[in-house]
Symmetry: D3
Subunit: 182 residues, 6 copies
């Protein structure tokens, strides 16, 4: 497209849920490019152990968190949900259909990196802060087991999780998966 | 969700392409609700006679147009592409999965109205300005036949259509459909 | 399967809506076989000009109508909704997956006949009564245009159509299609 | 719909295969509501370790078993196969499309309960008899390993399993999965 | 891929049915490149007015015709069926997944040309011989109406069409479509 | 079809990647039938731990390997990629749509055997040579772990794997799966 002066980047994730590490990556990305498309991946999934929240719930977590953050300019951000495609090798092309043109991809997922690199796209791996704690897997695990998940997410995410009875949902899904394994 | 003080609304359309009538509707909607989710429908379609542009191209048209409009506050807007589902009666539920909770739907399409009303949702029909001219069907027709389509859309939309060789694309699609009919 | 003494048959239709001709065919089929599987085709479709009613609405029309008919023994009947498959040549095999084994197919649709006959299945074409009037196309047309559709269907079908505001739905769909054509 | 005097309920299961616990639940449900829709879930699946039988085979097991049971009135029952949808949060809405309206859901699956409860539906958990033995997982396991599965199912189910060489099918599927794991 | 000395090309068509014009194009293409991939498009379709034959039937027509043609070296040819994808803009990428790498595309379809050219691929439009007669549309029309279709196809295609009762199939499909239109 | 003098057979596999055992099976099959259709199964899959290569990459491995093998007559072989269908019991029928008619199936996969035998097809289990080593699972494992995979495949397969950076791709996929399991 006619983006020359304003380079655009993608930040690809599933945001199950949106946590403080994601927020830091968004700020990192905004310091390098003019406009950031946050791709909410596996958008069709919810109510699963690795994907408990709907795309709409995740978008509201991100939107509300960014809205209250004085360091982030929402006008420079697009939030775009993208469903998986059955065929892995088509996925990056599906992304191209759903977002404006972009020059760089920010992601810490090595598989996403592989797919974009095989196409010759530039991929940047953002520095991770508090890697042990600040992962969505850790947040979901604490939610299911009664640990302190609230310190890993924004106040806005907490509000939404509570409003939708998210903890009960996650506990039910974890219990179901345990039952199936026996 | 916990939206009580900030009512949210949907504006559902296909935006093939985004034109000045759509822009007026967005302003109309923003005068009634706090936050507006612009649903880009039939998001998976492109390169068809009624759907020439990809979701990404349409999102860029809308984003760039709103960006340059001093009357619109982009922080109050979400642009969400949603693919069709094979089953009509599931479509509004699919919308629910992809967007934050909402209280009202703005649409001029009578079929979209029917589907939301059968579920008991509140639907508002925005006043149409210059109805004859300001329809996407009219814009596409002028693009294909060499008419003056530029006065019906924003300068940003013009730039994007030109950048992607959109007129050539539409002329090819129109020619193909004519050939098939004979 | 182990059906030897009790031959089973299929009656394939879309039942948009269920009318008195369908009822007569069911009675005709029951006089030839022991058990009848009524296949509600295009089960995933609704809110379309040729398919206004959901599978659930159609099943209720058939179930309630047969329930009140003293000549029909409901214990000899199964009502099975089957969605279309994208691939025509797989459709009869999809039917095989969803119904118990059967020996004969009753249908007046020449395309359904072709598909089953190419597989070597026995197909019976039931005698049609009042062919002109007793077609679902005619019923839908009268519903849309204010004609007398009620004499073509059972009292139970009338009740259901009225309960779901079916006439308004059909009129909206017809109006939409007309608008698109111009 | 116009069901006021005759409340209708759903019994949701996969019936892989139909066993005596399912039969007891159907009788339990029929003592509480007027009409029961037995939803045969994951209808598109078969020839898998958790889903060895086709929907048609399962329907025949249920139909034949109920047919021979003097305590069950088949006229009060509908057997409706429903395929999975890719999107979990759409599944209960898909059910709504395929069955007549209902007031209550009977299920012992906690995930199904979660999905219906998030929509505000009334869900009843039937009392389980002989919980250890009377599970479909146990029946399939005995089928694969040469245990006594016949005492857990009806004589009609036994006949159908034998007619389709179901034990050989299950043994092949179990052997394949074991081979893949090593 | 490591194709440097042996350039490879695609010939994209639907081959409904394979006719003498297609045969001429294959010879034309083989005179320009080393290896030719014949892409049988819309592979999942059959039993439709524009797509009467299955992919397997079409492949047999092509294979048998080329086999008997002394000018064609079958070792230089691959026949690859490719199903449509729901999303037009993904289709050429789907092709890339199903065929070895290629340098040039031969096609007379202007829409296929548009899709490959938007990606920057080289597209060659083969010279058409006897354009009026030698089109698959014309062949199908003659088949349905009793015209002389046999002079437009190879003897091998004739044999296959007769073996599968193809003329009866096409006549049934044409009759059905006519009936639906009234 | 009209194949009487020339019996045709299928060889069904996934060829992830094509190895010397596959090559031996092709020669074995060609000694029994006139024409062989090599079905490349799970054609839509790639970039997965059990399916790293695209259908196009696999086809090129097979084509180039057979091309250089003086014992194999390429004119007697068709290479046909076939995607999975969601419904297991439809898969063999999907195969029927995509290939010319056949009389016998060659496969060592017990599940594929089960599916074809339930339909009454003749299935032949080719003798396996060096069973321990010559399995695609073993080849992929060696690729991921730095073992000697090259002696298990043809020189042509080696060239293609190296050209597409296949070893790096497999290592990334293996690393990702390990990471997900923790």
């Amino acid at each position: 497209m006619y983006r020359i002066s304003k380079p655009r980047g993608l930040f690809v994730g599933r945001f199950q849920p949106f946590h403080l590490g994601h927020l830091a990556t968004i700020k990192f990305a905004l310091s390098h490019i003019e406009e950031l498309v946050v791709v909410i991946g596996s958008a069709q999934k919810s109510h699963e152990i690795r994907n408990p929240f709907t795309a709409g719930e995740r978008i509201q977590m991100i939107k509300d968190s960014l809205n209250e953050d004085s360091e982030v300019d929402l006008k420079r951000i697009l939030l775009i949900p993208i469903a998986d495609v059955d065929v892995h090798s088509l996925w990056t092309h599906q992304v191209d259909n759903f977002v404006p043109s972009y020059e760089v991809v920010f992601t810490n997922d090595m598989f996403t990196r592989l797919l974009f690199r095989e196409r010759g796209m530039k991929v940047v791996q953002p520095m991770l802060i508090q890697r042990e704690e600040l992962s969505a897997t850790e947040v979901r695990s604490r939610m299911a087991k009664g640990g302190d998940w609230k310190k890993l997410v924004s106040p806005q995410t907490i509000k939404i999780v509570e409003h939708i009875n998210g903890i009960e949902r996650i506990k039910t899904i974890f219990a179901k998966v345990s039952a199936t394994n026996y």
